[in-house]
């Protein structure tokens, strides 16, 4: 497993993966810069809870950025193998298919964690820059930065699965992009729709979504591994 992970990270060299990892949180924060830039006075007048408002504004854009990031990274990482028919080379090595599959999932999960961390730092810096002071509600900001990712693990597992089994990435990418857009308008849909989970409903208790995210994420990952093991590699 460790070897599979090491091999995966080696392949990331000289690609734009880390740029994407940075771009996601940067975009989300940049949108808030614009938001506050345009109507700073109005926002400050209307909402006395400065940090709380910043968090819920940010939250709006975290979910779509996160889901887009997952879809694109999963697709890119799978394309590395699809492009020059590398699956047949790796899988003819003495390595378990399970390890190869899970390594891809973990690498992307790791990247998304980095994105989430950048978002966490970015939110604090933005707040301080807007003059809210340095006494940020660190825990609430951390929740807002990391919980969506955990609640979104089923989608990550799904995107990795689809991207790996489909040679043509237009399907997996379409599903990923549609899911990202759909998630923004998913307040009304039933709770079992996984694309709704990363939104976390700021007003309600986010914990069930996080717990379910991890649980179902692992489940989808296991299903993906089982399917991948049974496939013929063309």
């Amino acid at each position: 497993m460790l070897q599979a992970l090491q091999a995966e990270t080696l392949k990331l060299k000289r690609k734009w993966f880390w740029f994407l990892v940075f771009l996601g949180p940067f975009g989300v924060i940049a949108l808030q810069v614009v938001n506050y830039g345009v109507r700073y006075d109005w926002i400050m007048r209307t909402y006395p809870d400065q940090w709380g408002r910043l968090i819920s504004f940010t939250n709006l854009f975290v979910s779509p950025a996160l889901l887009l990031g997952m879809a694109i990274l999963a697709s890119q990482l799978a394309t590395l193998e699809h492009k020059q028919g590398s699956w047949k080379q790796i899988l003819a090595l003495p390595v378990r298919r399970r390890d190869v599959f899970v390594a891809k999932f973990l690498v992307i999960a790791g990247m998304i964690s980095v994105s989430s961390f950048l978002l966490f730092i970015g939110t604090i810096l933005l707040g301080a820059g807007l003059g809210f002071g340095w006494d940020a509600p660190v825990l609430a900001i951390a929740e807002n930065s990391f919980y969506p990712m955990l609640a979104g693990l089923p989608i990550l597992a799904l995107q990795v699965w689809l991207s790996i089994i489909k040679q043509n990435q237009s399907g997996p990418l379409s599903i990923g992009i549609f899911g990202a857009v759909f998630s923004m308008y998913s307040y009304e849909v039933p709770n079992w729709v996984i694309w709704k989970w990363p939104l976390l409903f700021p007003d309600k208790d986010p914990f069930p979504y996080v717990a379910m995210g991890i649980l179902v994420g692992v489940l989808v990952l296991v299903l993906g591994v089982i399917d991948f093991q049974r496939r013929d590699i063309a």
């Binding site: 070897q3 599979a4 090491q6 091999a7 080696l10 392949k11 060299k13 000289r14 690609k15 590395l80 492009k83 020059q84 028919g85 590398s86 699956w87 047949k88 080379q89 790796i90 899988l91 003819a92 090595l93 003495p94 390595v95 378990r96 049974r230 013929d232 590699i233």
Partner: protein, 310 residues
Amino acid sequence: MSEIILQTNQLTKQFKKQTAVHQVDLRVQKGDIYGFLGPNGAGKTTTIRMLLGLMKPSNGEIEIFGQTFDQHKLEALRRMGSLVEAPSYYEHLSGRENLETLRILLKAPKSRIDEVLAIVRLTKDSDRPVKQYSLGMKQRLGIAASLLGDPELLILDEPTNGLDPSGIQEIRELIKTMPEKYGITVLISSHLLSEMEQMATRVGIISRGELIYQGDMETLKGKALPQVALRVSQVEKARGILKSLGLNACSEAGSVLIENASDQDVAESVAALVHKQVAVYRIEERRQSLEEIFLDLTKGGELNAPGTAS
């Protein structure tokens, strides 16, 4: 009889409606360069994918290193190296980095990378990105990758496909040295018999999913029966005379052909023909080429059977 390193029993692969490989019994012995031949689409690649665990057989079983492959897959793959069809590589990485991603998975020592680079003579170019490599270099990199794990059994699927003559020559020379120099048994597939003729010690010929010949290269060559062609003035008359001598003769535009003729037969035929006033213009020996045998064996295959073989 030397040790059998790879064998398949009634190996079959069924895709939805089509049987790609049908009850194939391969036998590869230690130290062989086993040429696995067949026209395009005959089932070579499918067979090889099953041997590497990339596809699951629908029926039958595979034994490698004396163990059932299905149950000892990782163990067997650890001792095998492979190159399947077009070379696989990450073009944004250098040759060395490409090998490194595989080396990690193989848990081979780091020094092995330099060794295999030297074997395929890529040391000089090892730090250039692979996207700048020529096809021949990529193919050599693929062979280097297949050697990384210090394999005992090397499985190469059409390793010379798409290479120019000098590239083909180079790869061929490389493969020829494997058994003696490194003790590696090689199974190599190709759709060109002429190519195998120069390196294989044993051959298996597959056509439309079925193994139609398996044996020594020498035995196959022995099947190339010599014919003696006599160009004569009166073909039909000459044929009659030869038949009366008890020879297996047939006619062909301006000539009669004698199958499987000994020197004695030829001498008698000529004497008889001259005696009966048939002028003999030319006597030539014709050897059926291996390609022709190959075509005969695989005849009835798809219409575009090896277009390159003629």
